[in-house]
Amino acid sequence: MSAVVETHSLTKRYHDKLAVNALSLTIQEGEVFGFLGPNGAGKTTTILMLLGLTEPTSGHVSVCGFDPARQPLDVKRRVGYLPENPGFYEDLSARENLLYMARLNRIPDSEARRRTTEVLEQVGLSDDGQRLVREFSRGMKQRLGIAEVLVKNPLAVILDEPTLGIDPDGAIHILELIKSLNRERNLTVMLSSHQLQQVQEICSRVGIIVKGRLIVQGRMDELGRAILKERQWNFLLEVGGAADGLENDLRTIEGIDEIEKRSHGLFLRCTKDVRSDVVSLLARRSLPLLQLRSEDPTLEEIYLKYFRGA
C-alpha cells in the first residue's frame, strides 16, 4: 500500500478568507475515502488543488507521487475527476462525448471505441450511447460522468458530490457502482459529499472538513470513539403488556445508569452491554419483548456534533 494522495499543511487563501487551512490528508491505494463536510467547507477547493486546477497558497501536495502544480499532466493522466454538476457537450451523443475525452487522453481510436463500449456497459448506459446528452436525466448524466472518468483507465478517481441532486434510488445505484469499481479494479476513490448518511456505507475511511480545517480523519468506528472518547451503550427497549414496576427491576441490573421514558418504551443509558441481562429479566417476568435496539451514535450525530462544535 502506498499513498495515492498526500497533502501536508495545504492552505488556500482567497483575499482574506482561508478556504482551506493547513490540511494534512493521506489516502492509501485501494481506499474509498469519504471527504465530508458542509457546503462551503473547502472540499471542492481542496480537490481543485489536488488536480492542479488551482494553485495552493502554501503547503505541499502529492498525487500519485507528482506535484499537481508543477506536473499537472502526469497527475491528470492517472487521476479521473468528476466535478460537481458535470457538464457535457449537449449536441453530441454520449459516446461522442466519451470519445472526445479519450482522444484528449491520446488513446488510439480503436482502443477508445472498445473502451467506451466497455465503460458505457459498466455504468448501465449501453443502450443510450447513441443518444444526445441533452436528452439525459440528471442521474444518467452523473453515470455518464463516471463512465468518462473510467475511459482513461485511472489509478484513482476523485468524485465531487457524486450523489448531489439525484433521487435516493439513483444515488444508491451510483454508490454501488463506485463500490464495485473499487472492489473489481482496486480503484482508489476519493469522494466528497455533505450527505454522509448516504456515503458512509461505502467509505472505508472518512475525513471531516469544516471551515477549511480537517477536524478528524479515520475509519468510521474510530471516528465515533474519537469523538465520544469511549463507546456508549445506549438501548431502546419496548415491551408489550403490563410493565408495572419494570423500571425498578431494571434499575437493579448492574450497568444501567439512567432510564428515560420515551414515546415508545424506555431509553437506557448504560456503561456496558446489558442486553442479555435485560432479556433474561423480561423472561423471568414473562413480558413479551417488542424491541431492544442499540442506539449508538450514528455518523450523522457525530457529524452534527462537529459542525456545531466548529
Partner: protein, 307 residues
C-alpha cells in the same frame, strides 16, 4: 491541440450560427458582385480597366457598398460570433473543468479553439472569393490575370488576420467575463467604437490640435493627425490596406498635397510596391492579434477552473 482543433472545427461547421453566416455572406457576396459586374458591363464609354476583377470587389456603383467594404464591416461580426462563447460557453455548460482535468496543456485548448475559428474564417473568405471569380468570369467573359489572383490571395490573408483580431478579442472577453452575454456585448461595443466612433474621435482630436486650418499645409497636417488617430482602429488598418491592395493605382493614404502628387505617373504599382505601402498596417494587425492572444494566455494559465 489537434484534438481540440478538429472538434471545434466540426462544431463550427455543424452549428446553425455558421449556416446563417454562410447564407448571409454568400447572398450579399453574389449580389454585390453581380451589381458591380453589371455596372462594368454597361459602361461602354470607357475601355475596361486594367484590373477588372479587383474592380468587382471595390466598385460601389449601383450598390450601397463594395464587397470589400462589406467584408471589412461584416468580418468583425463573424470573428465575434465565432469567438464570444468559446471559453464562457464551456464555463456555462460545465465542461471546462472536465476538459482541463484531462492531460492536456491549458494553452492547447485556447490554441485549438483559436485556430479552428481562424480556419473557419479562412474557408468562408476563400469561398466568397471563389464565388466572385466564378461569377465575374461569367459576367465579364474572361478570367482574372495572375496579378489579380495574387492580390486577391493577399487580400484574403489580410482579411483573415483582421477577422482573427476580432476572434482573439472575443475570446479574450469570453475568458475575462466568463458570461457569454457580457462577452458578446463587450465585443460588440468595441466593434462599434472601432468602426463608427473612431472617425468622430479622430476628427475631434485633429480639430483640437489644428483648430482652423487656413493653408494647404495646415489642412494636410490635420488630415494626417486624423489618419494617425483613426489607425488605432483595426478597421481603419484593414480598409486602408485593402484600398491599396485592390487598387494598384493607389499610392497614398488619404490626402496628398499638390506638391507631393506632382510628377507621379498614373501607372499602376507593382504588387511588391503596393505591399511595401501596407506592410506597416499588416504588421500592426498581426501585433494586435498577438496582444489579445497574449493577454488571454496570461489570464487563462493562472485561472482557477471551478465548475
Amino acid at each position: 491541440m489537434s484534438v481540440v482543433f478538429w472538434k471545434e472545427l466540426a462544431d463550427h461547421f455543424s452549428s446553425r450560427r455558421f449556416m446563417i453566416l454562410l447564407v448571409l455572406i454568400v447572398l450579399i457576396g453574389l449580389w454585390a458582385t453581380y451589381a458591380s459586374g453589371q455596372a462594368i458591363r454597361q459602361d461602354t464609354e470607357n475601355s475596361p480597366a486594367q484590373y477588372v476583377f479587383l474592380l468587382l470587389l471595390t466598385s460601389n456603383t449601383d450598390v450601397l457598398f463594395s464587397l470589400a467594404t462589406f467584408l471589412g464591416f461584416f468580418g468583425p461580426l463573424v470573428g465575434i460570433t465565432l469567438g464570444f462563447d468559446s471559453i464562457s460557453g464551456e464555463y456555462a455548460r460545465g465542461t471546462l473543468s472536465r476538459v482541463l482535468s484531462q492531460p492536456i496543456y491549458r494553452d492547447s485548448l485556447i490554441n485549438g479553439k483559436f485556430f479552428a475559428g481562424l480556419t473557419t474564417v479562412a474557408i468562408l473568405w476563400g469561398s466568397i472569393l471563389i464565388l466572385v471569380i466564378g461569377l465575374g468570369t461569367t459576367l465579364l467573359g474572361f478570367p482574372p490575370n495572375a496579378e489579380e489572383i495574387w492580390r486577391m490571395l493577399i487580400f484574403t490573408a489580410v482579411g483573415v488576420i483582421y477577422v482573427g483580431f476580432w476572434l482573439a478579442l472575443a475570446m479574450l472577453f469570453s475568458l475575462v467575463f466568463q458570461k457569454t452575454v457580457t462577452a458578446a456585448l463587450a465585443s460588440l461595443a468595441v466593434w462599434l467604437f472601432m468602426s463608427l466612433f473612431i472617425a468622430i474621435l479622430s476628427q475631434g482630436i485633429a480639430a483640437a490640435i489644428v483648430p482652423d486650418p487656413s493653408t494647404a499645409e495646415q489642412l494636410a497636417h490635420r488630415a494626417d493627425i486624423e489618419n494617425i488617430v483613426s489607425r488605432i482602429s483595426p478597421s481603419t488598418l484593414f480598409s486602408e490596406s485593402v484600398s491599396i491592395l485592390l487598387n494598384p493605382a493607389a499610392r497614398v493614404f488619404g490626402l496628398a498635397l499638390q506638391s507631393q502628387a506632382e510628377g507621379i505617373l498614373p501607372t499602376p504599382l507593382a504588387l511588391g510596391q503596393s505591399l511595401n505601402l501596407i506592410w506597416p498596417h499588416i504588421t500592426t494587425l498581426f501585433a494586435l492579434v498577438a496582444v489579445c492572444f497574449g493577454i488571454s494566455y496570461i489570464i487563462f494559465m493562472r485561472a482557477e477552473i471551478r465548475a
